[in-house]
Each structure stands twice: as C-alpha cells, then as structure tokens.
Amino acid sequence: MSDNTDKDNGKNMNRRDILKGLATIPVFGLFLVNLWQKIRRDALRKSNLLGDLIQEKSPPAVISGLSDSRHLKLGIIGYGGRGSHLIRGAGFATKEWTDTVSENARKNKLDKQFETFMTQEDLNVSLVGVCDLFDVRAEQGINASKNEVRPGGKPKQTATRYTHYTDLLNIKDIDAVIVATPDHWHSRITIDAAKAGKDVYCEKGLTRTFDEAIKVYNEVKKTGITFQLGHQNRQVDANEKAKQIIKQGLLGKINLVELATNRNSPWGAWVWGIHPEGNAQTIDWDTFQEPSPNKIPFGEEALRRFFRWRCWFDYGTGLSGDLLSHDFDAINQIMDLGIPKYASSSGGIYFYKDGRDVPDVWNATFEYPDKDLTILYSATLSSNDPRGNRIMGHDATMQMGGQSGGGSVHGFIVKADSESTRYKDRLESGIISTQYPIYTYSPGSKQIDGITSATSRYFANKGLLYTYREGKRVDPTHLHVKDWLDAIRSGGQPKCDIEQALHEAVACHMATESYLQGKQMEWHEDTHTIEPVDKSKV
C-alpha cells in the first residue's frame, strides 16, 4: 500500500501526503462556517429583540447594606407558622428548626434551607417580646430568641412573653412589632401599635374586612409609622425585571391579565394539623375569637377553627386574603395598577366539604375601565395543574411561573403574538417565532434547589420562597423584613407601604364582598368606600 510506504519511508512528504493529512480540514471549515452562521443568526435575533430593551443592560439587583447600624428591638405578635418564618427572616429560629434543617441538609445535599438561613445578613436586631395565645408557640418564640445558631451568633438580648398584645405594646423598649396573627386581629393590633408609636410589619391580607382596612390606612397615615405589608414578592428580582419589560412596551397594549392559584393537598387547603397540646389550658380561646362576628364555646370545633382559621370568614377571607392577595400585589407591583373600579366574584365549596364556609373554587374579575384592562383570577384547591400567571398584550404574552414559565423557578417567558403589529416584520422574516420565547428570565437556572413538596413548588413558582441576588439564593421574606428595618432606620418608605397595602386590601375585599353579596362591587376613590353596582344607573 503506497500510503503506508510513503509514511514509513520517513520525512519525504509529497503532495499526496499533504492532501491526505489535510483532507478533513474542509470538513472542519464547513463546521466553522455553519457555526459562525448560527452564532450570527442568534446574535441578530437577540439584538433585534433586545435592542428594544435598553434596561436589559441594567445591573442585577444587589442587597444594599444597612442604612445605619442602629440596633432595633422587635416584638412578634402571633408566632405561628408564618410568624416563625418572619422571625427567621429577622434572623432567629428555634433550636428544633435549626436542628431539623441542618440534619436535612446533611441527609440531602440539595436541601439549602439551613445554608440560606445561616448566610443571610445579620440585621442587628433583638427579639425581645413574644405574644401568642397558644402557650406552646409562645415558648417556641422565646426559644428562637435564645438560639445561638443564627447569622450573627449569640443574640444580644432574649425575649419576654406577654399574654396580651397590649402588654407588649406598652413596653417602651420595643421599637417595632411584627403582626402575624390571623387576619381578624390585624386591624386592631396595627392601629394600637401605631398609636403606641411602634413601627409595624403586618402579614397579609391586610385586614378581615373592608372597613378595617380603611381604618388601618387612616391610622398609619395619621401617625406616620413605618408600615410594611407582608408581600415578600416585592423583593423578587423577576417581578422587577417583568416591570421593566412591560414599561418598555415589549408586550404592546395589555387588555387582559390572568392570575391563577392551583393547589391540591389538604395542607394547601388549610387543613392544618391540630397541635396535640392544644386544649383549654394552653389556648386563650376567648381572646382569640374576641373580634370575630360569631362566637362559639371552646371544644373540638373551636380547636379546628383555632388551627385552621383560614377556612372561616370569622377569622379571614379564605382564598382572597391568602392567595389572591399575593398575585394581585405582584401584578400591582409589575404594572402599577392601583385599585380596580369594579370587582365581581363567584365560586363555591366544591371539594372540601368539611364544615368550612370559605370557597375552595373561586373566580374573580377586576375591571380597570380607565386602563382598558381586565384581571381574571381563578383559583382551585383541588387541582395542582400549574397554570401560572399570564399578562396578555397585543404584541406578546408574558407567562410567569406555572408549567410553561420557562421551566424555572419564578422566572418568566415572553412569546410574540402571531398577529402582533410590532413584531410583524420580524415574524414574517423568520427572525422571531411564536413557538419560542423572545425573552426568557430564569434567574435560578444554574442554581439547584431541593424544593420537593407540591406546596413548596407552588410558592417557589410564585417567587415567594426564594429569589436571587448576585447569583446567591436569598429568602425574599428576609429581604422584606430587612427592607422594613432599613426604612425604619432611614426614615424612607418600604416597598409594600400603606398605599400599596390599601390597593391590595380594597381589591381583595371588593372581590370577597362580591362573593358574599352576590353583586358586582364598585370602588369610590373620592369617599374611600365600596358599594354594590347600581345596575339601574348603568
């Protein structure tokens, strides 16, 4: 074989050798040409799309430092499931919790809960007062204030228990309070705290009734306290990015927004565990039900109501205050919508026939005639099919969360509309396609989270569990508490201040009242009132 002979004979390279040695170079060239064409095509496509997005070049959000180092003393009123999470956001967790999550992290390396807690910023606060009507939880709050396993190490001061919230508010030493009681206590505690000069972080929904919301609004405005409503979605980077994109007009004129809640578990439907130590001696039931319109004696039904209070209108507003409030606030954050002019809703108790009186399937519509916009909210507690939220514009649709939300945690995608005016030329020339997103935002795509339960995934998809700052996973609840503390120290306004809180509260109460009264409700901006729409005047 001549090939072989040529080579074996040594260094005399002839033309044939060179040709055979370089024979695959043209294939490599072909590869490079194709690669270059593909890169160029992708870059062109991207520049055509993102050329419109000037703010795309803006730097990612960062966690700002504390505005000053003034040490603040906090009180917690209501140390239940949410209250304990908020206190963790402030940097205090029970020993039982830190033991459990550190053990979980040891067993499952993907479980980052412990790491996320321990690496959060030390907010320079002490937990000095705890008030809860259930002895076990009050003790847990005290325990959390003492636990040295926390960001920042050993706490400067530990907490005292107060059996009634007014006793806690009377303590001059306490600068600010976190209110995480059931909704029927929010207004009274917030108003009294404001009168006592304490700054307030109040968990959502703002209040149980519309009238209470107006009273809270007026008192907070009157006293000038620093008020934050507990919508931690305000800290989620994806929402801010979505806001930029919509502001740039990438979606075109928006006439319809769809918001959705899907859950399918007893826990997701508020059938929470009844604590084995809950009894007449450990629970102050009379105080618990004091502000509720209907009273019942202590017994098994009272225990159910104490631990599963979201199932009754006596203590909350069900889907409205718990889950619509989050989605409404997020869309209000993204689109600056304010209070709708009209709201109507309907639904029923179709799955959980367990004695509750709040609906488990519920749909609401909100009308903004001055903005040419309708918001549709649809919720079910008996299907886990994640629909996500959609902002539908003439030129493109933004899909947030849900199954097709970019496949990532609390990201979003934007897809062009086939009949878009703005993208008509680019669609026709094939630069963009309606099949693929023209924009994808998935901040956690390179981060791995051990989010396992369906409910966790629900919250994560809504951006309520984690957000990202400089590529690091952060709990938005921590950021939201920090935002409030920074505002207290600097004298500024936190991200979900009383104005934003009023928007959320009025929208949710209009929908709730519509369900209860069977009528469409109308908001009167001038008088700060709502009333059923008078059809005869329409």
Partner: protein, 164 residues
C-alpha cells in the same frame, strides 16, 4: 505499523467508511461542546439531577457542590469540544477516541435506559438497554481499534508517532 489491517488499507470503501465515521462523530462532539460553551445558561445540573441507577448518588453530590458542578460543566464543555476537534481533524485521534468513549459511556451510565427507570425528560427515541450513547461509545471503540488519522488526518504529519 499502521494500526490497520492491510486488507482494510487496500479496501478504500472500508477505509473511507472508518474515516467518515470518525469525522461524523467528531462533528457531533464538537458541536455538542461548542453549543454548551456559547450558551451562558447551560449547566450539566439538569442532566445530573435526572440521573438514575449506579451513579445517581455521585450525580447528587456533584450537583449539590457548586465547585464540583462548575468543574463538571467545564470538563463537559471543553472535553467534548477538544475530543470533537481531534476526531474531526485527525489529530491524536486514537487517544481522544478513548476519552470520547469514556464521556458517552458515563452519559450512558448516569442515565441508562433500563427497565423500571423513569426519567422526567422524555427521550427523543424509544430505547431499552441500548441507546444512542451506547452505540456511539461502541463506534468510538471501533475508531480506537481501527485508527485512520495517520492516513487521513493531521496525524499523517507525525510519521514517527507510530503508535498513534
């Protein structure tokens, strides 16, 4: 010593068949690698998270450690690119055929199409025990066993490196 049986050297059809196989696999590896290099969002995490069978524990360890994951990403991106270029150009192809075989065998073993193993991502074909990774690994074994780069490829310019 060519590393090829003289009957193959005489049979152009067999020789060019082997070269074509080498070049095509090289092309495939090269683009797999480059496409990952130019995509800032690519990570091996998604693949590793879906791992089943023997190496699922190892996959979890890699994914949960940012340093290991970064190493895994770089090894994959650059490994595939370099192996691909080497096979395509015919430079050190014999060694890189073995390395490439190692890559695809690992991909196979991290997610083998065995009965009873369910993956969250739907495959692009229907497989039981044998899938395209296993076939590509075997094809690389053939390339290793029947080296052609010293005849058609840059290795021809290194006549003294007979073992290649």
């Amino acid at each position: 010593m060519s590393g090829l049986d003289s009957s193959i050297l005489k049979n152009k059809c067999q020789l060019y068949g082997l070269v074509t196989l080498r070049v095509l696999i090289g092309w495939h590896f090269l683009y797999e690698g480059v496409s990952k290099l130019i995509n800032p969002y690519w990570s091996s995490a998604a693949y590793l998270l879906d791992s089943k069978w023997l190496f699922s524990g190892l996959a979890e360890t890699i994914v949960s450690d940012p340093t290991l994951l970064t190493i895994s990403d770089y090894v994959n991106m650059w490994g595939l690119t370099l192996v691909g270029a080497s096979l395509l150009l015919g430079l050190f192809s014999r060694y890189t055929a073995l390395i490439g075989m190692g890559f695809v065998l690992l991909y196979y073993l991290f997610a083998p199409p065995f009965l009873g193993l369910e993956y969250s991502k739907p495959g692009e074909g229907s497989y039981i025990i044998v899938n395209k990774n296993l076939i590509e690994a075997c094809a690389l074994w053939v390339i290793y066993s029947f080296p052609t780069s010293h005849i058609i490829g840059l290795d021809r310019f290194f006549p003294n490196r007979k073992s290649n």
